[in-house]
Assembly symmetry: C2
Homo-oligomer: 332 residues x 2
Amino acid sequence: MPTITDIAHEANVSRTLVSRVLNNKPGVSAENRKRILEVIAKNHYVPNGLAKSLVLQKTNSIGVIMDDLCNDFFFPLIRGLQDAAEEADYNILFCSGRRDMAAKLKYVDYLTGGCTDGMIAYGSCYDDDELFRYVAEKSTNSVLIENNLNDCHTDKILLDNFHGAYTATEYLIKQGHKNIIHVTCDMNYDVGLERLNGFVQAMHDYKMPLGPNSILYADHFESIAYQQMKKRLAEGKQPDACFAGADKPAFGVLRAAMEAGLSIPADLAVIGFDDDRPESKDILFPALSTMRQPLYEMGKAGVELIIDKIEHPDREPAIRTFDAELVVRNTS
Amino acid sequence: MPTITDIAHEANVSRTLVSRVLNNKPGVSAENRKRILEVIAKNHYVPNGLAKSLVLQKTNSIGVIMDDLCNDFFFPLIRGLQDAAEEADYNILFCSGRRDMAAKLKYVDYLTGGCTDGMIAYGSCYDDDELFRYVAEKSTNSVLIENNLNDCHTDKILLDNFHGAYTATEYLIKQGHKNIIHVTCDMNYDVGLERLNGFVQAMHDYKMPLGPNSILYADHFESIAYQQMKKRLAEGKQPDACFAGADKPAFGVLRAAMEAGLSIPADLAVIGFDDDRPESKDILFPALSTMRQPLYEMGKAGVELIIDKIEHPDREPAIRTFDAELVVRNTS
DNA sequence: TTGTACGCGTTATCAT
DNA sequence: ATGATAACGCGTACAA
């Protein structure tokens, strides 16, 4: 790879002049500028980003670390991050250590080691606590998305899971349903608890019956919710509405209900959370009503926040909270 | 961010000793090593990657540029890239200029500007020719995946589309089908032509009837194939087998056939290419037989190739070609 | 308009 | 065992 020195030699000028040309700065005669540009083009010369960033103390790029790049649920998030970065003329780099904590931490070291001006980490499960704390203790600009750790004093983008669950439950109540249950998502995730709490609060506020039978514990997949709901129906205890803590368990509930011959939403209204899609490909589900996370907007906000932080490194950590949006489709 | 100089001062030693400790090298007294490690830990110090890479002329990271990160078709590719990079202890960074050529080229400049040891570009459409040529003319290590440009003298990972199409067609012939047609995918892509050629060659070799009615021109989506097939069936010209140049048009064909009351695969056998999934969510398709691209293996090979090139910069450009694999499901 | 000299943070070479 | 010094490639005061 040619360096600025090579270009300077070939053009018979000093490196200073080449640098001026590269950065469109004045102080170069038209003649020299032309010759320098020719030499640059001829050699396909591009300034070394490492050296440039090192001296400028600015990389103009942002790193993103996610626990999974291969999940279409995150597409809106990725698009939001990309759009905001493109708009601000920043490079945005995605990387993922997947389920390997050591790999994740290595990427954090990489991203915070000077190669980027700031980093964004996405994660919502307890496993990510270690990651988030590791990011937060670095003295670099960082934004954490989705998970709220009170001891991490960095910028954060959060979803109000409690409020979303409350909204969904309230909607079912106002639709006139009398026997509403909640099917949880994975309670190993923060979101599981928050959504359960939102459900309970709404039921309480509207003085709806709330007992041990009001909650069915499932996880983030279809299967357990399917089994639990099947069992519940077999016992003859049939609710008339169900708020699920995530779409995957909601599809499990739907599957059980459809197998039992229930008509949706007449016999059972179902509303999920996340605007996800079913795992099962061998069954045709009705379009699921759900609470949609504004992931696109959250991604955009994440980049905006990190850029603001880069430009004002000394400001206090900021938190931006987003509300999930009720999307009514054919199951409610 | 603290620097090595800060650490050295705080530990009352020279930068040399700190560097030795950081890189686990001998030549430091146990006492000093201990104190230096303490200071490092206390300050959460991480060496600046820019400076380190600059002096070492080695970044230990690989960049990947794809025209779309938000497409689950590429998941196996991404996983292959990640697995191989992880195994070789390289960082792997994903970026995408999406449909904006200027953005793509900017990312190429970034990735080839010293921040990575090499880059991998994926692309199969004609639009990517400009991108690929731009990558190839850089004097950095690069691997191009999927698209074959003869004037690009870089490492390449290719799929033998001709052979895959031949295999699929041959399979249909050997199954005893007499009236086989080909529904093309987008002919603006290299792959479209290669797969058409493979079909024609197989039909020719087996002396199967080949006329103007043997080919239906569609694109990379369901709709046109659906319309074309619907029209064809309405004309009463019903083939007994169809090889589609991609899965999306194959689903379009299936949709038209199913609407016409045809039984699959008894009345019409269908085989696609790519192991993709349907666009339509309102219809339940049978599991499609297809030619699966070994994208995971291709991704792994891409990283292996680039690392080999990094270690042997002077070797001749290498090409590795992969065969698609016939996956027989319920449509043939 | 042009060029010299210094510094960005690190590693490596060579003294001590 | 320890430390001064020179690179890596670039931008930028400052001097000419």
